[in-house]
């Protein structure tokens, strides 16, 4: 037991002060602050200067309507009459005195048309604003021309009243579903990141010990099984440390935002304070179990390779699995009741993400959740048993007959490694 702790703490200590860990942690926390305080940051730049568009109004009476329309829409855009010639106006645009030039005219049937000229036409939002405003003016004048009054026009554009209500008392409300979605997203993202980062960390760790041959001394003093689990727990400890830092950082960021923005804060906007505690607990449980599952997988695979360069080859299939889980989760978000998603959520490698999604989106009976957790724990145990055996064999590439057989069956050990085994 004390050797287990020695291995665990050694792994923890050597990784906690490693540069990649410090850098990713700091960057992520910085990012959390930026994202949660985005509203304040944009305010800090003092609101962008309103764009100025010169208008040559050949219709003679459209400009005031356009100005009124733009103001009503609250766009950061002023339209001013330009009295000089079109070529002068174009020059002004190129010199930067104007952001753009709008030429208003009427076509043969008397409907307003517009031509927008600017130095470049990449300012999509500005162009859309103008186009929308013109569309409104056109609608209005078209309506007037067929004799509709303002009220009739408003009635046409009035959106239909449509409300959703769930009849089951345990069903999730729309808001709850949105919160779940955010939480699932966060867990999925964090899962993906952790597996990428820590999974390769474990595999690299094992592969380094093997390639630097320190492994032989290690396994002569500690059993490979103790070593493997010491390593996995050490890495899990790091992941939890990082998670704790993220949560603390995120909390601080949100608090800061609350102080700065009050009722407009991100908490109020996203109703983060209303996420049910049970869901957070489930998220944590699924995250930790999922992490263990993938960590065991990576430790096992790390023991099979002999050089650090080969770690990347190992990552690919696992990344594909996680991306697949992500895509099923996307689909599951639209169709949480789907039988396919339900079935997939019992596939251990998908369970952490998909079961959490279902727990959040649906009102699952407890036995289903328990079954999901059971499947996960079972898979971890299975991987641990196989992993420990493979690790034992893999680290030295030896194996007595029965475990060698198990090797071949379970992991399709490459020919080369078999050869090495007999060479020992």
């Amino acid at each position: 037991m004390s050797k287990f702790i020695t291995v665990m703490m050694h792994t923890y200590r050597s990784k906690i002060k490693s540069k990649p860990f410090l850098i990713t942690t700091l960057i992520t926390i910085a990012l959390l602050f930026v994202v949660t305080n985005m509203n304040e940051i944009t305010k800090m730049f003092g609101g962008e200067e309103a764009s100025k568009v010169g208008v040559i109004d050949k219709t003679g009476n459209t400009l005031p309507a356009l100005q009124a329309q733009l103001e009503q829409a609250g766009d950061d855009l002023t339209a001013e009459a330009y009295t000089k010639s079109e070529s002068d106006a174009e020059k002004a645009v190129i010199e930067g005195k104007l952001d753009g030039l709008l030429i208003l005219d009427k076509d043969a049937s008397g409907i307003v048309t517009g031509i927008y000229k600017a130095e470049d036409i990449t300012q999509q939002s500005l162009i859309t604003d103008i186009e929308m405003a013109l569309q409104q003016i056109k609608n209005k004048s078209a309506a007037e021309s067929i004799g509709l009054n303002q009220e009739q026009l408003a009635a046409i554009y009035l959106p239909v009243s449509f409300e959703k209500e769930s009849l089951s008392t345990t069903a999730k409300s729309e808001e709850e579903a949105a919160q779940v979605y955010i939480l699932v997203y966060v867990v999925l993202f964090f899962m993906y990141m952790s597996v990428m980062m820590y999974g390769s960390m474990i595999a690299v760790e094992v592969a380094t010990e093997k390639s630097s041959r320190v492994m032989e001394i290690l396994i002569s003093s500690v059993s490979p099984v103790t070593q493997m689990f010491g390593k996995i727990f050490g890495i899990v400890l790091i992941a939890l440390t990082q998670l704790a830092l993220f949560v603390a950082g995120g909390f601080a960021a949100v608090k800061l935002n609350e102080n700065l923005s009050g009722s407009e804060s991100i908490i109020q906007e996203l109703k983060l304070n209303e996420i049910p505690i049970s869901l957070i607990v489930y998220a944590l449980v699924f995250f930790i179990l999922g992490f263990f599952l993938y960590a065991t997988l990576f430790a096992m695979m790390g023991s099979l390779i002999s050089r650090v360069e080969e770690v990347n080859n190992l990552m690919t299939p696992v990344v594909i699995v996680i991306v697949a889980a992500f895509m099923i989760a996307m689909y599951g978000r639209e169709n949480p009741e789907s039988g396919f998603v339900a079935a997939a959520s019992y596939f251990p490698l998908f369970t952490p993400m998909l079961m959490l999604l279902r727990v959040g989106m649906l009102s699952l009976p407890v036995w289903e959740i328990a079954l999901g957790i059971g499947v996960l724990i079972g898979a971890i145990a299975l991987f641990a048993v196989i992993g420990a055996r493979v690790y034992r064999g893999g680290v030295l590439m030896y194996g007595n007959a029965p475990s060698l057989k198990l090797f071949k069956q379970a992991l399709l050990l490459s020919k080369e490694e078999k050869k090495n085994t007999t060479e020992l």
Partner: protein, 298 residues
Amino acid sequence: MLQIKDVRKQFGTFTAVEGLNLEVPKGEIFGLLGANGAGKTTTFRMILGLLTPTHGKITWDQKEISYQTSDLIGYLPEERGLYPKLTVKEQLVYLGQLRSMPRPLIQEQTNTWLKRFGAEEYINKKVESLSKGNQQKIQFIAAVIHRPELLILDEPFSGLDPVNVELLKNAVHELKKEGTTIVFSSHRMEHVEELCQHLCIMHRGKAVVQGNLKEIKRSFGKKNVSVKADFDLTYLKDTNGVLKHRMTADGITLQVEREEVAHSLFQAVQSKGFVRKFELEEPSLNDIFIEKVGVVHE
């Protein structure tokens, strides 16, 4: 006492070690010789408990070797390996802790050993920045820092310069004096001759010669006669009982069947003129090795 009883190790259809019986009394230095692939490393791994013998039993002090006894055993593997990114101190602390040593003791031992090897200035250097010889010293310290009862050294002197070989040899001697039982393998016959009382020559997984060094030499029978004289000695090679001969710069070395052959050789040179040297030598371990294993080795 280290006891290896009728041990066989099989990898699939390949037999790495067969019918091996060894006894190493406490406080002895035991040499294990053999060409590459003779089964030395496999034997060591079985002693360490890294491999399970297919048949037979290995015990230390009547106890089977397992992870319960691993704190009593020290191991210097043939393939050297340390954490390249850790400093010497971190390295030794970690490896020492894995042998259940308390931290203060590790620090004390680290300092003692580094001082002995004249490598104190490297204590906070990363291992990857050390020279190969210094890395080897650190590796050696890692193997002995916990004062093991049984120390296994797989090719401890390979790749070292003569100064460092001497340093390490002295350390081995001293450990022996302190009561450590040492089993080591080497390609260098002179190291084995110098350090071991008992040895075993392995060939293709089997022990071909084993026992006390002196007895092995005596029972080998064949001896060497080296002669130096002012006249041509080539004719001696045709004497009855001479098995091999080798001309040297100013004389000849002959391998003879029995001691008696040396007598007739002596008679043969006596009357011819002035003889500068006539010596009857014990066979060298190298001769025995070549004879038994049938290959020229280093």
